[in-house]
């Protein structure tokens, strides 16, 4: 499903990621962990081309990112649902419209959008917040809206960048439970986090990043 082949990324001659090679199988849940500045966020950004790799190739489903035309980038992004660390919610529209936006971009009919959004919000237990605006929500609630948006269009892959970074421990456990439910339904999920509590004892695959290299791999 996801393949990294000798991928490197540099910022101003500084190595952020060096010769990263790994594969994530379909239906797998993988954690990327490491200290701040290890390159976790950059690694996720490479997967939806918010950043481009300087060396190597990445394959997501049928998309070979090294040879991907600019006009194909939107279609790659549609096959990846991203839970952004900084949420990236549009504050001028409601929770419903924020989640619906990803479906409207895909040209889904309005009649179907209503049901899909409603189901996505139900999965993350915030259906009652449908008409609220993001600015009136707590950090945890905003995080759930972002997850609902990421899963609404049933993408091939869900990428989550520090999905519990702004949340209290109880809410974090709730959010991780949501991801596990989605994974149980067949979703391939990659979560970047420095919070070891999220994968401890889970048995999921954990890739450790340090100084731009994969420092090790273990089962959580």
């Amino acid at each position: 499903m996801i393949t990294f082949q000798n991928v490197s990324k540099y910022y101003d001659n500084q190595t952020v990621l060096k010769n990263i090679t790994f594969t994530v199988q379909k239906g797998e849940i993988t954690f990327i962990t490491g200290p701040s500045g290890a390159g976790k966020s950059t690694l996720l950004k490479l997967m939806y081309l918010a950043e481009s790799p300087d060396e190597g190739d990445i394959v997501i489903g049928d998309f070979h990112l090294a040879s991907l035309k600019e006009s194909q980038i939107p279609y790659l992004r549609r096959s990846v649902g991203v839970v952004f660390q900084d949420f990236k919610l549009i504050n001028s529209i409601t929770v419903f419209d924020n989640v619906a936006l990803t479906l409207r971009i895909r040209g889904v009919k309005e009649r179907e959008i209503r049901d899909i959004v409603s189901n996505a919000l139900k999965k993350v237990h915030i259906r009652h917040l449908s008409d609220s605006y993001p600015t009136s929500l707590s950090g945890g609630e905003q995080q759930r809206v972002v997850i609902a948006r990421a899963i609404a269009a049933e993408p091939l892959v869900i990428l989550a960048d520090e999905p519990t970074g702004n949340l209290d421990p109880n809410t974090s456990i709730d959010i991780i439970r949501v991801f596990r439910d989605l994974n149980a339904q067949g979703a391939t999920i990659v979560i970047a986090t420095h919070n070891r509590e999220l994968f401890k004892g889970s048995g999921n695959r954990v890739l450790k990043l340090d100084g731009g290299n994969i420092a090790g791999e273990e089962a959580g």
Binding site: R77, R78, F84, L101, R104, I105, G107
Partner: protein
């Protein structure tokens, strides 16, 4: 569906950024009003200019002593010309009578004359398209060559004036139209560019969610077109107010203004012109932006 989203998004933005949009709409309306008034001015000048050729004529004086057969030959020769709309033969006697009628109370001037000093003449009207300085000169030259014609006179200055008036009005209208059109395009261009930068963060998010360039551009095209459309509608209101002010209020003071005609056809196309200019401005704006 994407289209209906683009419309909703554009109209939401029109309402959200109401002041900048209102300012642009009013600027577009004023510009389109100037175009309408230019069209109004040109329309009336064309009507006046079109009526002037009817008054234009070439007068050919015949030599004295021509027989009626010779005169008829000359008339027939002139009539055969393709550039002639019509002619009128004025005999010596008719010319004198007309002069007496013109002089009225001062007709005694002619009492001392022992014989009629006036010549017979033929007044020639040219077809509308031939009332140009070069055509009139050419026709007058050809007629002068006909056997039996003594002198030929034509209103050279009138022909020149009509030609000059038409040409300068057309040139002026083209210049005004191009200048104002560029202005309207620039206004929508600037507005759309400002609106784009105000929504830059939102656009970045939508891009990351998988929006194509077309999806991102469509609301801005609709917004630019809408600015032009509403500008056109307000332009119509302005033009109608101008028309009623001229025909009802000002014509009370200057009755001549009542004869002016208004090209109402332009009012129908004004919003359409606005939409076209608005979309062109938006296309330039978003075409130059990095999406």
């Amino acid at each position: 569906m994407t289209f209906s989203y683009s419309f909703k998004s554009a109209f939401k933005s029109l309402c959200r950024e109401k002041w900048i949009n209102l300012l642009s709409i009013l600027t577009v309306a004023s510009s389109l009003l100037i175009i309408t008034l230019t069209a109004f001015f040109l329309y009336n000048v064309e009507i006046i200019a079109n009526s002037l050729p009817e008054r234009f004529s070439i007068v050919s004086y015949l030599k004295d002593g021509l027989s009626s057969e010779d005169t008829q030959v000359i008339i027939d020769t002139i009539k055969r010309r393709a550039d002639i709309a019509g002619l009128k033969y004025i005999s010596k006697e008719d010319a004198l009578k007309e002069l007496q009628h013109t002089l009225k109370d001062t007709g005694y001037i002619l009492e001392g004359l022992t014989e009629n000093p006036l010549s017979s003449s033929i007044e020639i009207k040219l077809k509308k398209d031939f009332v140009t300085p070069s055509s009139a000169k050419h026709v007058a030259g050809e007629i002068k060559k006909i056997e039996g014609i003594d002198e030929v006179y034509y209103g050279e200055k009138i022909a020149d004036a009509i030609h000059l008036l038409r040409r300068s009005m057309q040139n002026m209208s083209v210049i005004i139209f191009l200048t104002i059109s560029s202005g309207v395009v620039f206004v929508t261009y600037s507005t759309v560019k400002i609106l784009f930068y105000r929504r830059k963060q939102e656009i970045e998010i939508i891009k990351l969610l998988g929006a194509t360039k077309g999806f991102l551009r469509m609301p801005f095209l609709i917004e630019g077109g809408s600015i032009g459309f509403f500008g056109g509608l307000i332009g119509i209101i302005g033009a109608l107010l101008f028309y009623f002010a001229v025909t009802y209020r000002l014509s009370m003071v200057i009755p001549m203004l009542k004869t002016l005609l208004f090209p109402f056809e332009i009012l129908v196309v004004l919003p359409l012109i606005g939409i076209i200019f608005g979309i062109i401005g938006s296309l330039i704006a978003i075409g130059r932006l990095k999406l």
